[in-house]
């Protein structure tokens, strides 16, 4: 047994006051979970401490929370590991996750600043090893990007479930239903097993940095769910789904590619990877979106094909006015966005950050001729193949358990996500 201090962000709406921190001392094995610690505190110290939980085995998805700022499940995070993480951050930064997080600080900036200042003086200059003995409280907060109902219980309805329903999370088959069940090839379902593993805990939504800046973003959980149906061979409205998700300005092109959801997900769903699959499929359909997301992708790919390295000025121009192979065709949005980016360009020129030459699309340095030939050769080959290697399915080499299926022999031109998974 070991002693731990957990620092819980509490809030009771009926009290009329704002959220506050409360520390509890608990005593349990390091291999037990943060949820176990909370339940012990609730049992021994304060029965009013609200936390949602059920299975305690990472199956029901009830106990999503932030532990030392990291979104995840309380029952799947060992208290000993949480302690190590808390100590490490405190030693490195001089503050705990509670002091670095904003919500409560926003309500009482004075105390927040005071804590920060003290922390920094303690840390001061000098080798970091001096503070490695630090023991910091394990900080536990309710999930982010959703309203808090009480203590660690959040309102899943207003953000999570509303967004899940937004993506039509059920099969839309066409034609007459078969007499018995739909029969599909097992291989055609493999690619969506990853998105099917979702337990709807909301940890990815809690961690989403795009949603933090744009609450209208459909978000990682719902988009992973959307891929579950887009990739399903029984679904007959894949193209309509892709149009819907690409044409929503807060859809697939609103993801900022920060990987937060990948680290937050307790079930390996990797929502961001599913969003990228949706982008690939939307791209293959040639769907033009209001965010110029597809145009940006194509512009990037073509610039590297042409030059081998990225020409940033050209990327901006091509994203808004595609014309790499011929005459420029500016879109209406492109003209507006180009005007908006002018002040930035002018400032960069004035500071000589960018020489006048570099600001002109197409003038960035290019690889030597023979190297360009090699890059071109890779393009020619890959455009014919487009193989996807899904580690979730294949597992690492030598890891027999994780490898659900032996990789099919090359030459193989498609993934399970490819042709086979198209509308059946």
């Amino acid at each position: 047994m070991a002693d731990y201090t957990i620092k819980v962000r509490r809030f009771q709406p009926e009290s009329g006051s704002g959220p506050y921190w409360e520390e509890f001392n608990v005593d349990l094995e390091p291999s037990l979970s943060v949820l176990d610690a909370l339940l012990q505190a609730k049992d021994r110290e304060d029965g009013s401490l609200a936390v949602r939980c059920s299975c305690r085995a990472a199956i029901c998805g009830s106990c999503g929370m932030k532990i030392n700022g990291q979104s995840g499940l309380g029952c799947k995070t060992q208290i000993g590991e949480a302690q190590e993480q808390a100590n490490k951050m405190k030693a490195a930064t001089g503050v705990t996750a509670a002091e670095a997080s904003s919500p409560i600080g926003a309500q009482s900036p004075e105390s927040q600043d005071a804590v920060r200042a003290t922390g920094q003086e303690e840390a001061g200059p000098g080798p970091i090893t001096a503070t490695t003995e630090t023991t910091a409280p394990i900080v536990i907060e309710p999930m982010g990007n959703m309203p808090v109902i009480k203590d660690l219980v959040t309102d899943m309805e207003s953000t999570h479930w509303t967004k899940i329903r937004r993506v039509t999370p059920w099969l839309l088959p066409h034609g007459e239903a078969p007499e018995r069940e739909y029969v599909v090839e097992p291989e055609s379902m493999i690619d969506i097993t990853q998105s099917m593993a979702c337990i709807q805990c909301g940890a990815c939504v809690s961690s989403c940095l795009s949603m933090e800046a744009d609450p209208d973003f459909i978000g990682p959980a719902a988009l992973a769910k959307a891929y579950r149906f887009v990739g399903d061979p029984r679904d007959a409205e894949t193209v309509e789904r892709l149009h819907d998700l690409a044409e929503d300005p807060h859809g697939i092109y609103d993801c900022t590619h920060c990987f937060s959801c990948i680290d937050a997900c307790p079930k390996g769903v990797a929502p961001m990877d599913q969003i990228m699959r949706l982008r690939r499929k939307a791209g293959e359909e040639g769907i033009e979106d209001p965010n110029s997301g597809h145009a940006h992708e194509i512009a990037f790919v073509k610039i590297i094909e042409k030059k081998g390295t990225l020409d940033e000025a050209m990327l901006v121009q091509e994203s808004y006015a595609p014309g790499i192979k011929g005459k420029l065709k500016p879109t209406k949005r492109g003209i507006v966005e180009t005007i908006k980016s002018l002040p930035t360009i002018i400032r960069a020129l004035r500071k000589r950050k960018v020489g006048p030459l570099k600001a002109i699309p197409g003038t960035h340095h290019k690889l030597p001729g023979d190297a360009m030939g090699e890059v071109k050769e890779i393009y020619t080959h890959a455009e014919e193949h487009r193989e996807e290697f899904n580690l979730y399915i294949k597992g690492e080499e030598g890891d027999e358990e994780a490898a659900i299926e032996e990789r099919l022999e090359p030459p193989r031109t498609h993934t399970p996500a490819g042709e086979e998974a198209q509308n059946g």
Partner: protein, 304 residues
């Protein structure tokens, strides 16, 4: 490893030779000053920044396998100076390393160019300058070279998503402290760490052309939070973050509706300042957010 010379196959990336030329120059200055020999991979190609993988995974994997193969030809470990390169290249390397038949399939394309990417017994090493500095060069060795400690300079770390997540892909099992290395470097150079909410969050750059408002709100919020926490400047190992945090800072200020004006330094610039370089030779005049305050703080620190 006291004075052991480090020699690396150096991938500078695209942006350090484009919109952040000051980064390329500063890295050269630091390498010279601390004794790291850079063998530049001038024939290597763009990492794809995740965007090419979004289009066609095999294309991204093959392009990066080519870069790794070029590095392997030099017989040296590879070093990059961009969080985004680190993340995008690590992603491709993970897929390539996971399966020998996939590797063979990719190498078939490279074979015509006399190239092949080999996983090797100990695996292929590609490290951001930040990782190399802490893990291979050593902070004690760096500390011994400090000429002008950054005394009194309050520095906020800004990592860039691609170098902190996903942990499982980025070697955190072996090196669990990679998400606090910037703090360690800042302290080694004599500066004070400023912790604020955005240190490991997203700068917003990947969606700057797709959703300008969301993108700039992210950049503006983090810069604002760092200012509120008392930072004199930020430091980042990612030139793409630098574009949003520095080059777009005046635009970000409009979106978050407040005054900003916080210097954002590239990691090699911060190191070089502590080693005695002059701001001008580090291209700091090219920054959009003035670095004047940092220079002032340093000259005060030096006088005391």
């Amino acid at each position: 490893m006291a004075d052991e010379k480090i020699k690396v196959a150096y991938w500078p990336g695209c942006v350090s030779r484009g919109f952040t030329p000051e980064l390329h120059g500063s890295m050269a200055w630091v390498a010279d000053a601390i004794g790291i020999e850079l063998v530049e991979l001038d024939r290597a190609n763009c990492c794809g920044a995740g965007v090419i993988a979004e289009h066609n995974q095999e294309l991204a994997d093959t392009l990066n396998a080519r870069t790794f193969a070029l590095a392997q030809q030099t017989g040296l470990a590879m070093m990059n100076i961009c969080s985004t390169c680190q993340g995008a290249q690590s992603e491709c390397q993970q897929r390539l390393d996971a399966d020998s038949s996939y590797r063979a399939h990719i190498n078939e394309v490279l074979s015509g160019q006399g190239l092949a990417y080999e996983k090797g017994k100990d695996g292929f090493t590609n490290k951001n300058f930040l990782w190399l500095l802490v893990e291979d060069y050593g902070l004690d060795r760096l500390a011994s070279l400090v000429q002008r400690p950054l005394s009194g300079l309050r520095v906020g770390p800004f990592y860039g998503c691609y170098i902190v997540r996903p942990k499982e892909r980025l070697g955190y099992d072996e090196y669990p402290d990679r998400d606090v290395y910037l703090e360690k470097v800042i302290e080694t150079l004599g500066g004070q760490v400023v912790e604020y909410d955005g240190a490991r969050k997203c700068c917003g750059f990947p969606v700057i052309t797709m959703n300008r408002e969301t993108s700039l709100r992210q950049a503006g919020t983090h810069v604002g939070d760092a200012i509120d926490a008392g930072a004199d400047c930020l430091v980042t190992p990612c030139p793409l973050c630098h574009l949003n945090l520095d080059m777009q800072q005046p635009e970000a200020a409009k979106v978050v509706n407040r005054d900003l004006g916080l210097a954002v330094l590239h990691l090699p610039q911060l190191v070089a300042l502590a080693l005695g370089a002059e701001p001008k030779e580090l291209g700091m005049t090219k920054h959009i957010a003035s670095t004047g305050w940092v220079e002032e703080r340093l000259s005060v620190g030096a006088a005391v």
